[in-house]
């Protein structure tokens, strides 16, 4: 059995760094880990999905529909888009940040602002972490990803290594304090839930 996590966001939000830190922590904890990400055209403002699986032994690196234990969404409609991947009884950790795509910007399609409520009604286990707001208040919206990492580590109840130390050594030195604070805030948000 593996634990399957799908991280989803928009190109440039830092889903890949988040997954990198998480996977390094999981390797240190002794798990077999595989992650899968598709780069290329998606960087140009498209959806970015990163998939991570861990357990005693992992074979396929990618997650199919109905197989994700947790979805971590960096953007509101991306949580909605990723929903088919969630396992029945699974959990969504999401930021309510809205990033408008081109069809929305030019008025061709509507942005469903009510997406979080829709997901709460359908899934039940949805934790809203205002990571972009927390990060902005701490000084840089760019640490949104590390805030969500904190939330995810709490949701997975991953004990046994010093995550704060790992985050600290994985981010650029100048951003260390902000990122550590963001990590802790995200962690507490889920623990308090």
């Amino acid at each position: 059995m593996t634990t399957n996590i799908l991280l989803t966001g928009v190109g440039g939000q830092g889903t890949i760094l988040t997954t990198k830190i998480l996977s390094e922590g999981l390797v240190a904890l002794g798990y077999d880990v595989k992650m899968s990400e598709i780069h290329g055209m998606s960087q140009r403002g498209g959806t970015v999905n990163t998939q991570l699986k861990f357990g005693d032994k992992v074979f396929a690196p990618n997650i199919g529909e109905g197989e994700a234990d947790i979805i971590v969404a960096f953007e509101k409609v991306e949580a909605l888009r990723a929903l088919p991947y969630l396992k029945k009884g699974g959990m969504i950790v999401m930021d309510e940040r809205e990033i408008y795509s081109m069809p929305v910007l030019i008025g061709q399609q509507e942005y469903p602002h009510e997406a979080a409520e829709v997901l709460k009604n359908a899934v039940g286990n949805v934790v809203i972490v205002s990571a972009s707001k927390i990060a902005e208040d701490l000084g840089s919206i760019r640490s949104q990803n590390i805030c969500l990492l904190g939330a995810l580590v709490a949701a997975l109840d991953l004990k046994g290594i010093d995550w704060v130390e790992l985050v600290s050594s994985s981010v650029p030195p100048k951003t260390r304090d902000v990122n550590v604070a963001a990590f802790k805030a995200g962690f507490e948000r889920v623990k308090a839930n």
């Binding site: 390797v27 199919g64 109905g66 409609v77 088919p84 396992k87 910007l105 942005y111």
Partner: protein
């Protein structure tokens, strides 16, 4: 031993280093790009270079191999088509230092124009073929590849796929083998493939392949895992992982690491010990066709799709071992999020200017960031076939239009890296043929789509050294094109852009427009633009939406007003301001 998590591409680079590789070259292409990017961290031990195209990259590697150094060339699957010419003949000559070609195929077309399965090149070009299924194997197979290449005097095709290149898993690191450079000795009968020599080499290589097939029976890269013998699965690469995930211990597996040549004896023995044989492979029925030629009945492509990527669920469904996944469904739909030209992208100005002349022109596109201009609202071109075609197809297309009395002018476009890749030869043909076309070189001073690799026009090498900068404009003028038919413009300057296009439509003979402005994501450009962005005065904005016609992702429209939704992303390029007749948009900061 140190165990770290690595992507397949990183592990290939690490494997090359551990195998004692000395020379490596590539042209960037997703999902292969990171191989050379990662090799550059070993530049003290490996000479590495971005080549202008995959043929050149392969020939650099071939030269090094014949010279006695272990060498590799890497490319995406379609890049191997460009490199096929030397590869087919080096299949005859064989190697001196071990020689490996790495092909990164892209089932599912994540960022490619087709789904070709390059395993088929191996028997055709007479190469050994290896298929790793995770990062550890990427590293281990690289080391094996160089040993096999030298042992059998055959180049090796390391066949990867997107999911192997870009997924990460644990790798145990090793030390570098200190393979010396073998002494170069002149040997034209082996390496100068004139007919008399080639005929002799063809005999030699057939014998080498027979020897390799015999070796394949005991090759440790092939392995059998026994589970239930009711089903025997023959598979390779990432398809092995999906098969294991889907069938678990409910089947036995023959996992082929060496997929050319395949050992007949190994396959027959495995198939005799199982009740049913399934072949699970992405893409073409490559293993399946081999198994069928042995007269062995099996289930393959009639169950498993030939299109796209596989995953465990597709495999389960193909063999009827699981119901459809249980998943959540909601009515609310997520709006589409297609990749778009970035805020501040120089191509945006070019495409908007072109759009205004839509009725007077027909346009051929090419492969690069500017390919995104095919989407609404620009609908910027009609064709995208391969690298360089943006400059050569117009020659034929213009003739075909002329023959049907269609007076529209044919425009062709491509970027700076694509120009150096193969657009230059196309341009020479256009000028030489006096083609009545307009060729547009969209020069953003970098190979942008694959993530900012240096090219011949940027003046910096992969190893980080300052190198001569090749001036594309001088190359264009050197064709002898009428200077009056060449324009260099800033694509964000809409008036200048419009004037150049109008002149091109009116001109006779080959016309060239070079748009020059660096990619907005280049570090130095971001630094220069830091803090600058546009603002829209809501009192002056009339809600006419003219500014939204340039489709910039930093600019939004809500409640009948335009506004800069993402000032951090806005580069203050001012394209939107040029669209505004009410002077509502101004630049701030800086």
């Amino acid at each position: 031993m140190k165990r770290i998590i690595m992507s397949g591409d990183e592990a290939i680079a690490r494997g090359a280093w551990e195998a004692g590789v000395r020379v490596a070259s590539a042209y960037p292409g997703t999902p292969s790009t990171e191989i050379l990017e990662n090799i550059s961290q070993y530049k003290d031990d490996i000479y590495c270079q971005w080549a202008n195209n995959e043929k050149v990259a392969s020939e650099i590697a071939i030269g090094a191999s014949i010279g006695g150094a272990r060498a590799l060339a890497a490319f995406k699957h379609v890049g191997m088509n460009v490199a096929a010419d030397p590869i087919f003949t080096v299949g005859y000559t064989g190697v001196n230092g071990g020689l490996v070609f790495i092909s990164a195929d892209d089932p599912g077309c994540h960022s490619s124009q087709n789904e070709q399965d390059n395993r088929l090149y191996a028997p055709h070009a007479k190469l050994l073929c290896l298929e790793p299924s995770d990062s550890q194997e990427c590293k281990d197979f690289m080391i094996a590849a160089f040993d096999l290449s030298e042992r059998f005097d055959i180049p090796v095709l390391m066949r990867m796929t997107t999911r192997v290149c870009h997924s990460k898993s644990i790798v145990e690191l090793g030390e570098r083998k200190n393979e010396g450079v073998k002494k170069y000795e002149s040997n034209p009968s082996k390496y100068a493939m004139l007919p008399a020599n080639a005929r002799v080499r063809h005999v030699a290589v057939e014998q080498h392949l027979k020897d390799a097939e015999e070796y394949a029976y005991e090759c440790p890269l092939n392995k059998i895992e026994w589970g239930s013998r009711a089903i025997g699965i023959i598979t390779s690469g990432i398809s092995y992982q999906h098969s294991r995930e889907a069938f678990g211990d409910g089947a036995s597996y023959l996992k082929l690491g060496l997929t050319y040549p395949i050992s007949k004896k190994l396959v027959k023995e495995f198939c005799e010990k199982v009740d049913k044989v399934y072949i699970i492979e992405e893409g073409e029925p490559y293993i399946e066709n081999f198994v069928r030629t042995l007269g062995i009945g099996c289930v393959g492509k009639e169950a498993v799709t030939i299109q796209g990527e596989l995953d465990a669920q597709i495999v389960r469904k193909a063999f009827g071992i699981a119901a459809a996944p249980d998943k959540y469904m909601v009515e609310t739909k997520a709006p589409a999020r297609p990749p778009v030209l970035c805020a501040g992208c120089p191509h945006r100005g070019f495409y908007y200017a072109l759009l205004k002349h839509k009725k007077e022109i027909v346009t051929t596109g090419d492969i690069g960031c500017y390919s995104l201009g095919v989407n609404p609202p620009f609908n910027g071109f009609d064709t995208a076939i391969c690298m360089g075609s943006g400059f050569s197809m117009p020659i034929g297309l213009a003739k075909a239009l002329e023959m049907q009395g269609d007076s529209r002018k044919v425009f062709g476009l491509l970027g700076d890296s694509t120009f150096f890749h193969s657009g230059l030869t196309s341009l020479i043909d256009a000028v030489h043929a006096e083609a009545n076309v307009c060729l547009c070189l969209l020069d953003n001073s970098i190979t942008a789509m694959t993530g900012h690799q240096q090219n011949s026009g940027t003046g910096i090498s992969l190893m980080g050294y300052e190198v001569p900068k090749i001036d594309a404009l001088q190359l264009i003028l050197a064709t002898g094109i009428d200077k009056a038919n060449v324009r260099v413009v800033d694509p964000i300057d809409l008036d200048a852009m419009d004037k150049a296009i109008t002149d091109a439509i009116a001109a006779k003979g080959t016309f060239v427009i070079v748009t020059k402005r660096p990619c907005a994501l280049l570090k130095e450009v971001i630094k220069a633009n830091a803090g600058a962005h546009c603002i829209i005065d809501p009192d002056k904005c009339t809600g006419c939406r003219a500014c939204t016609k340039v489709a910039c992702p930093a600019l939004a429209f809500e409640n009948k007003k335009a506004y800069i939704a993402d000032p951090a992303n806005c580069t203050a390029c001012g394209l939107c301001a040029q669209m505004c007749k009410f002077n509502a948009i101004s630049k701030v900061g800086k």
